[in-house]
Symmetry: C2
Subunit: 491 residues, 2 copies
């Protein structure tokens, strides 16, 4: 999921200088309002390296009024701390009402390290993360505003950063031995961060993911989102308590994930082999899955007319019909309406070794139901967690899960709609509703962005497929499906 | 905690017959209302033996309208079920809106067995229980009313029950081999049940604990509380969502735990040795704890004038002053008020090998703050979980925790108050507030009952000490404190 944050954002020096004065003035204003309120604020900085954390912390220290501010950098435990329960030192650092605490190194650091450096079993990690989640939700109920930042860098960005410092022989950023250890363990650290973020994210104590390769961009973005969050909370002091258990995770960027896709991707006109090649591969893999009793669940979502049906047909042609079922998800039946929204999907979980392809899926809850208002606000917000838990149960049982979003541009969709209207045997495929949905393109795009960020997990990431060119999309789907199956069957 | 439910309740046949017609009529009425509502109901029966579950299930089947009712008894998984994730079969059994499902054997049965028969690590159990809690809270948000009953028997009751059946050679209750296995593992089963109940109890899916040794009493109590819960829920269809994370656990009984204490307990007049004996023992144990670096936290709660101070003085006389500190909890300071209510208690967690005695404690949240309205309803309800989590963190760190409730009768309190007023050097100990608190005796009693049920854990049970006789209470406190220390130091 975190690789989805690698959008390459930077901030030019001139822009930075232009924006800074107002940001600082507003930060001080909101801090004064905070002092009069019953809220305390905890800002948690975690990330790929200490340097970015230090950089952001220093800037916040400079921009905020230090009289209302405490700064804590937790290193190894002191003798005093070792003699008390793990959370004792954190209780000591809790800010009083009206005050802000900035934590570089926090209750997360230990568990992230332990995971990255393989020191704990998954169960112990899980239990500790649950404990953290409980702790934060308890503080949140006591009017503590908790803002958590993951300062993200890709492995290559981090390597370049350390190499540059090495060349300069100038370690003013406070690079430590641990940074080099963590660079080696980068992939594990990212897995650990993803698990941590997913388990401890909530509307009350949200995780915000920021690209940290460009310091100006990172500092400005963190400070800006602190400002926004505090303004928002102080303006709504009587926030409902029923936010608990909802996700709040966002990637802080004005560039959307979908906008990064190469929408000009085309299958070369002379490529007549790829489709067949991957279909053959899929056939072999599906038999392997059958013999290994591993089930496959495939989810298709995408814009109207994005080509889901065509892509699915290319899959089922490659798989023995006896072991693959396609479930078309339309409006729920009466019986389905009388149950929890996930009930209709649980019904069709495949037998061992079999496959179910969902043509639209449980993600309707956070797409159409969200945008059209069929689900209430708290319902679709809660759904990210419910969906993650549902999929985790599939994965824990050994099900291989693949999720595809077929992406087309509005222009391409318009072209396809017009074509459908003009083609007699395709007219039934286009309705007034399709035209209405087009008007909400922006809302849907936001919903897709949130869905991808909040439900892309290591075992079941969203595959975003540029689908303006149908042949390309079909081959791409088959190729990525083969990859997921191959990976899954290894595990 | 469950042993606190062993109150010896029974129901005479004549009373049973007298109460039954109205209960049945009301059950049918509420079931009809349910059919018109958007709620579904899940009734979970778990307990020490299958027989009680079957007994209750059969009676509910008889008393309710079977057309709106489904009954599920989950045994070992079928082939179909084994091929799907663990919860698949439970999803299939979920009732539609308007209907009731009775589950004898449920998502709890497997994990209870695994724990009782030592088949899983604590971490795996914890993770599964968290999964259950999430599942239930998800259903609850979808208007499913979940009522969970633990049908309790003591080991000796269960043994007698099985022996009697054996004599009769008449196993109409469906006693199974597992019942005998579980009798052997009774203590472990009870531990497992306590952990399970504590982890998965919530206001939305509460656990209710019923004595099952007397079938009439058990059937009637379960049916009665189903009736009460459904009436309540159907009368309040728009229940707030912010109940999540609150406890709902109750022991279903009209007899309070405090009422079972022997309030005539006295130290024999000629016993001049016991006090000294246990003080010497405590001294030795406290040095052992010091050398083993195990800390001790002791909590004293009790009625005004119950003798907390006197009991604490008898302890500190036995312990080296350098390693023991008494914290008197009065109204919070300004600094304390500016933090979470637990903050002031975390401050005083002792160093390794040292002891802290809290004269009144965090339990104020669910006692005085509840009764006097200083804490809001959702705050004190939430506090049970917060306190359990806090104490669990102490225990996980190796702290030995002992909690005493000193119990006196209202008459004894009156006598002591009057004595204080009559004795010049004791007059400062009695205030108008003390007299006012007496008027709320019943409310406090209810708060104590809930506190004992919801926060008595295996590692830190409430010690309820009859304290009408001060010498008796002091010796009893020392004795039980020695026991807890001894046990703790073994672990």
């Amino acid at each position: 999921m975190l690789e989805k944050a690698e959008l390459g954002r930077t901030l030019e020096k001139a822009d930075y200088k232009a924006q800074l004065p107002q940001l600082r003035a507003e930060l001080l204003t909101v801090q004064r309002q905070l002092q009069e309120s019953r809220h305390a604020v905890i800002i948690i900085l975690e990330g790929v390296d200490n340097a970015s954390e230090a950089e952001v912390a220093n800037k916040l220290n400079e921009w905020l009024d230090t009289r209302g501010l405490e700064f804590f950098a937790f290193g190894p435990k002191t003798d005093e701390e070792l003699q008390r329960p793990r959370f004792w030192r954190y209780w000591r650092s809790l800010p009083a009402r009206g005050r802000i605490a900035i934590l570089s190194g926090s209750w997360y650091t230990g568990t992230l390290m332990e995971q990255a450096l393989d020191r704990k079993t998954p169960e112990t990690v899980h239990q500790h993360l649950q404990r953290i989640a409980f702790f934060e939700s308890m503080l949140a109920r006591d009017n503590v505003i908790i803002l958590k930042f993951w300062l993200h860098k890709s492995r290559s960005q981090q390597k370049k950063f350390l190499d540059d410092l090495d060349k300069k022989q100038h370690k003013r950023w406070g690079v430590t031995e641990t940074d080099y250890q963590l660079l080696k363990a980068h992939d594990k650290l990212i897995s650990a961060a993803e698990l941590t973020i997913r388990t401890t994210d909530s509307a009350e104590a949200p995780w915000m993911i920021v690209e940290a390769a460009d310091a100006r961009y990172c500092n400005m973005t963190v400070a800006g989102s602190i400002l926004k969050a505090l303004k928002n909370r102080l303006a709504n002091p009587n926030r409902p308590h029923d936010l608990a258990g909802q996700t709040g995770m966002t990637i802080l960027s004005d560039r959307s994930i979908l906008s990064t896709l190469d929408m000009h991707a085309r299958l070369p006109d002379d490529d007549e082999k790829s489709l067949k090649h991957y279909q053959n591969k899929l056939m072999a893999l599906s038999w392997e899955a059958f013999h290994k009793k591993r089930s496959l669940v495939v989810v298709f979502e995408g814009w109207d007319a994005a080509g889901k049906g065509g892509a699915i047909r290319r899959i089922i042609r490659a798989v023995d019909a006896r072991m693959c079922r396609v479930i078309q998800i339309a409006a729920p039946t009466d019986e389905e309406k009388a149950h929890h929204y996930l009930w209709r999907f649980w019904r069709h979980i495949p037998l061992a070794g079999h496959a179910t392809i969902y043509d639209r899926s449980w993600y309707g809850r956070v797409l159409v139901e969200r945008v059209e208002g069929f689900a209430k606000d708290h319902e679709w917000r809660q759904a990210y967690l419910e969906i993650n838990e549902f999929e985790q149960q599939l994965i824990d049982h050994g099900v291989i899960l693949a999720k595809f979003w077929l992406h087309i541009t509005p222009e391409e969709q318009l072209k396809r709609f017009q074509e459908r209207e003009a083609t007699p045997y395709k007219q039934h495929k286009i309705t007034d509703e399709d035209w209405r949905n087009r008007e909400k393109w922006g809302d849907y795009e936001q919903a897709v962005q949130d869905m991808v960020v909040r439900t892309s997990t290591q075992e079941a990431p969203w595959e975003l497929v540029p689908a303006n060119d149908k042949p390309y999309a079909r081959v791409e789907v088959l190729k990525r499906l083969c990859e997921r199956l191959e990976n899954g069957l290894k595990g």
